[in-house]
């Protein structure tokens, strides 16, 4: 009997997780709603003056994006660990690294990508000029990819602890600091109308590093977590 190829299996995992997401849309929508609400609270709580809002917009956008993706991470591996799916992944004989990478990629499709696409909306409310949106979108794409990957390692490491939520944030947030710094800097430069190649390259470097190393680390963590 022919065993399915690795890419076919990865596509299988993506398809399964997307199907699951359609069955419980609230899990996908909650982090997005959180992102929108947090960013939109600033015009109300701080000042409606666009000039002042524009000055804090980079920080607000990125801290909110960081917290929103943290919120979504909790569910990345936990349910699969509880219902035995992860165990089946391990004993399937397929590379666990690839299966977890596929899960993380799907997770990004349902959190990081929509977060990025919401940026024009919330950016408008924070006084971000239209011309800056292109740069902000590219920074957010790269940044959220890194956040999902870093989060996957954290989610794997906290599998064994029942209430992993706070621990997960404590583990993951420090690792996400470079993303926050480069992302906010890129956004600031985009708003000012300057070239943001420097921070974009750095964000790209973090994303590449994440794609390379995070699935390996997550797989090792999951194996330990399942023991």
């Amino acid at each position: 009997m022919s065993a399915p190829g690795v890419f076919r299996v990865a596509a299988w995992v993506v398809q399964r997780d997307l199907r699951l997401a359609t069955r419980r849309p609230s899990q996908v929508l909650q982090p997005l709603a959180f992102f929108a609400v947090v960013t939109l609270l600033f015009p109300l709580g701080y000042t409606p003056e666009l000039a002042k809002l524009r000055a804090i917009a980079p920080g607000v956008l990125w801290v909110a994006a960081l917290l929103a993706s943290m919120l979504a991470l909790e569910s990345l591996f936990r349910e699969d660990a509880e219902d035995g799916t992860l165990e089946q992944f391990v004993v399937s004989g397929q590379p666990l690294t690839l299966l977890l990478f596929a899960k993380t990629a799907t997770h990004w499709l349902m959190t990081g990508l929509p977060l990025t696409l919401m940026a024009p909306l919330v950016g408008g409310a924070l006084g971000v000029p239209f011309a800056a949106l292109g740069g902000i979108l590219s920074a957010l794409v790269l940044g959220t990819i890194s956040l999902s990957l870093i989060g996957a390692v954290g989610a794997g490491l906290t599998l064994a602890s029942r209430r992993g939520g706070v621990l997960l944030s404590l583990l993951t947030l420090p690792l996400a600091v470079p993303v926050l710094i480069f992302g906010a800097r890129a956004t600031e430069l985009a708003i000012a109308g300057d070239s943001l190649t420097g921070p974009l390259y750095l964000l790209g470097a973090v994303a590449v590093l994440g794609v390379t190393l995070a699935p390996l680390a997550a797989a090792a963590a999951v194996r330990i977590g399942l023991e």
């Binding site: 299996v9 069955r23 219902d83 165990e87 004993v91 399937s92 004989g93 397929q94």
Partner: protein, 209 residues
Amino acid sequence: MSELTAENIWFYRGDYPVLKALSFALSAGECLQIRGPNGAGKTTLLRVLTGLLQAEEGVVRWQGQATGARDSGFLASLAYLPHQPPLKAELTGAENVHFAVGLRRRCTPQDVRAALRRVGAGAFADRPVRSLSAGQRRRVAFAALHLDTARLWLLDEPTTNLDAEGQSMVCELLEQHLAGGGLAVAATHQPLALSAGRLVALELSGVGE
């Protein structure tokens, strides 16, 4: 020729030895029934065999080769059905089987339907697993096992929650699997109605000295 052997397996939880110098040998067409009181280490032994747990001492051999958690050849030839069937509550029975089997081999929707009918799950194949009873879930899990081409079945309490008809269905599947040259290790208290010569018993004492 024994295909699956365990030699002198020791496994500890802290200082407490759960598995003590455990050995067995199993040939094609045989089913090892692990018996023993609660906490005797039946599930632990199954998980050691899958490689999910690492034994402190001892070795598990499959076709003469020592196995490990990263041994994809060995893993591809085993199917592990844990005590709690690994199903997604939001997906239907058919979807669950489809995705579970698809990880390991190619299968068509027709195969999935046929397997679900074979285990008596045809009538509720399109309902979300969330709404199924424990016995119905177990039937769905057996449909996935039936489609799998694994030669070694590792079953944790395979007949729990099943009615009399379901239990004999499981025994039929097992018998068919063994007759085709397969092997099985089943942790269960209930007697398994298999033909003579198929069953090898392993008693775990459980009480540490």
